[in-house]
């Protein structure tokens, strides 16, 4: 009886029957026995994995293979196996076409603006909140600041439309200064500002959570010691608080860079209209409009692939840079 229990526990807990032990050194027969043992003792686990793996195969990996459409002249009637192969024609057609420069430029610009203006805001907000003396005030403000995050994107864009319309609030305030902007969403030059500022409004509170949590884990003894040594508040912020934030800022920055090419298309689609395509159209929204709605599936897929590849390259570059400069990186 004891031996049975022991062997069961051993099987489940890896003691001395670890399949990793010299797995690659095993002869074919030994390996197969180990696998059979594993399949038996973990049969329910593998059973659990079946629907999960089916999900990943059907909805994540099959579309990945669908990427070959980018190199075909895909016709729905012929399907993926019979459509004609055209190689790089789709992507070259896009890159040399009239819209490529526009959408790539817009994608990059909107993201650069976000990095410069929107990325620091939660950090600054967290720093300011950290300096508040009243705990209650801080808690209340935090709760209020989370609210915009929970408002759905559709409603946020609805609010933007309401405030930027010709008779809307922004013009009402501006009229005090004898300025009239007109319908702000129909002027291409205003779009990026509207997009970034509304993004800050929605995400500053939520984005500050992670920085506030990091700040509250800073050793208060450090601050006390510095104060005794005569450091004023600003010096303390510069020498203690900010360095504590650098690791988390680096990680957040890398993650933000990794999202550059894929983020924001829902908001762009909700806000844009033909008169502002010049600044508003980004790669993903163009794929949506031209590739999906316009049913140009091959070209759309090609552009999407182009987008994904650039995304990965940026992510890898950002991670490598972070690794060289500091010790923090995503992997």
């Amino acid at each position: 009886m004891n031996k049975d229990i022991e062997s069961v526990i051993n099987k489940k807990l890896l003691i001395n029957t670890s399949p990793r032990h010299g797995r690659s050194n095993m002869s074919g027969g030994r390996k197969w026995t180990v696998i059979k043992k594993d399949l038996h003792s973990n049969k329910y686990v593998y059973l659990m994995l079946v629907p999960v793996l089916i999900f990943y195969v059907v909805f994540r990996y099959v579309p990945m293979f669908g990427v070959v459409m980018a190199f075909q002249d895909y016709k729905p009637a012929l399907g993926i196996f019979k459509s004609e192969w055209v190689g790089l024609e789709n992507i070259i057609g896009f890159l040399t076409g009239p819209y490529a420069w526009r959408v790539v430029r817009n994608t990059l610009l909107i993201n650069i603006y976000q990095l410069i203006f929107a990325f620091p805001c939660p950090i600054v907000f967290a720093l300011l909140l950290n300096e508040l003396n009243s705990r209650i005030y801080k808690k209340v403000v935090q709760t209020i600041s989370y609210m915009p995050h929970f408002i759905s994107l559709v409603v946020v864009c609805g609010l933007i439309r309401i405030f930027t319309q010709t008779n809307g609030t922004i013009n009402a305030i501006a009229s005090v200064f004898r300025v009239d902007f007109g319908n702000l969403l129909s002027r291409a030059s205003y779009f990026r500002t509207i997009y970034v500022v509304s993004g800050i409004w929605q995400s500053i509170g939520w984005g500050s959570i992670i920085y506030i949590a990091t700040l509250s884990s800073v050793d208060p003894n450090l601050h006390e010691a510095a104060a005794i040594d005569g450091a004023g508040r600003f010096r303390r912020i510069w020498n203690i608080t900010l360095p504590a934030l650098i690791p988390i800022i680096t990680v957040q920055l890398i993650m933000q860079l990794g999202r550059i090419m894929s983020e924001g298309y829902e908001k762009v689609i909700l806000l844009y209209n033909p008169s502002i395509y010049e600044t508003a159209d980004i790669i993903s929204s163009y794929v949506y409009r031209y590739g999906l709605e316009g049913m140009n599936y091959s070209v759309g897929t090609a552009i999407g692939l182009f987008n994904s590849i650039i995304n990965i390259i940026i992510l890898i570059l950002a991670n490598q840079t972070a690794r060289k400069i500091s010790e923090e990186s995503l992997w």
């Binding site: 807990l13 594993d38 629907p51 999960v52 994540r60 600041s145 309401i162 794929v287």
Partner: protein, 295 residues
């Protein structure tokens, strides 16, 4: 010297408090504006230019139209159904996946984990996914909103990490008592990881409440539209026939109400979440912290 330092600091404190106070007002004001406008008389709403501090003439007309609008009511019902079914399904899939990958002695663990995590960095893209979902026969069906997004790999990893933190001794004693993996999962792992499970459930629930894009590309029948998609029509596409839900013989009547209806719809769709979020925010905050600790 000491005095001027503390003067500067006190000044900073005062400015800080005022600045943060102003910011808080800016967070609240847009919804406050909508709230005030929604209770106003339709004619006043249309002609008003400027800020709202209180309703311009009290009237419930806007709400009457909104609550009688079959699209909005349908939208609410659809979103609720999708949320309940969707969140349950997501949690089921995510939990069994996370449990499986948290087991220590799985032979194929490394390769399966890689298989799963890789999808976070590369995907088929919008169009291939769209064609696959159509090809599987989910077009124009509620399940197109649920199945393709059944598992968020990020959430799965967070939960897997949570399961891995459960003390081994609990596992051991269960195994000695003759438990199989299903028993371990449902009787031990889940109850012990209640906090993490709650957080991930909330994440899924909120994303179902706010989702509109999948519905916009996969659904054709209006009666399946979730709330956010209906809102999109009212707030963004500005289709007049939909703002009143009734084909009006009198078009000027519709455009009169149009503006007011937008405000009422915003309030009606946002108030539920606003009432709930202060109470569950601590779960979300925890969730963010968990997610940022690399799993």
């Amino acid at each position: 010297m000491i005095e001027s330092r503390s003067f500067a600091e006190r000044l900073f404190d005062i400015i800080n408090v005022m600045l943060i106070g102003t910011l808080s007002l800016v967070f609240i004001y847009p919804l406050y504006y909508c709230l005030m406008a929604s209770f106003s008389e339709p004619a006043n709403v249309l002609s008003n230019i400027g800020l709202y501090w209180r309703p311009l003439g009290f009237s419930l007309d806007g709400y009457k139209v909104v609550f009688n609008n079959p699209n909005i009511i349908n939208g609410y019902i659809n979103t609720t159904i999708n949320l309940v079914i969707g969140t349950s399904f997501c949690m089921l899939m995510t939990t069994i996946g996370a449990y499986a990958l948290s087991r220590r002695n799985l032979y194929f663990k490394r390769i399966i984990t890689f298989f799963v995590v890789f999808t976070m960095y590369f995907g088929g893209g919008l169009i291939p996914t769209y064609l696959v979902v159509k090809g599987v026969g989910l077009y124009n069906s509620r399940w197109a909103l649920i199945l393709p997004s059944a598992i968020s790999t990020w959430n799965l990893i967070v939960l897997k990490t949570g399961f891995q933190r459960v003390p081994l001794s609990l596992n051991e004693s269960a195994v000695i008592d003759g438990a199989n993996d299903f028993t371990i999962l449902f009787r031990i792992m889940i109850p012990v990881s209640k906090a993490t499970i709650a957080v991930i459930t909330l994440f899924y629930a909120v994303s179902y409440w706010n989702s509109w894009f999948a519905a916009s590309i996969y659904l054709r029948e209006r009666k399946l539209y979730p709330l956010q998609l209906v809102l999109r029509e009212i707030l963004i596409s500005n289709t007049v026939a939909n703002t009143s839900g009734v084909i009006d013989a009198n078009m000027s009547e519709s455009s009169l109400m149009g503006e007011l209806i937008r405000y009422c719809s915003i309030i009606v769709s946002t108030v539920p979440i606003l009432c709930i979020y202060p109470f569950v925010q601590k779960y979300f905050v925890k969730g963010i912290m968990m997610g940022s600790i690399k799993g």
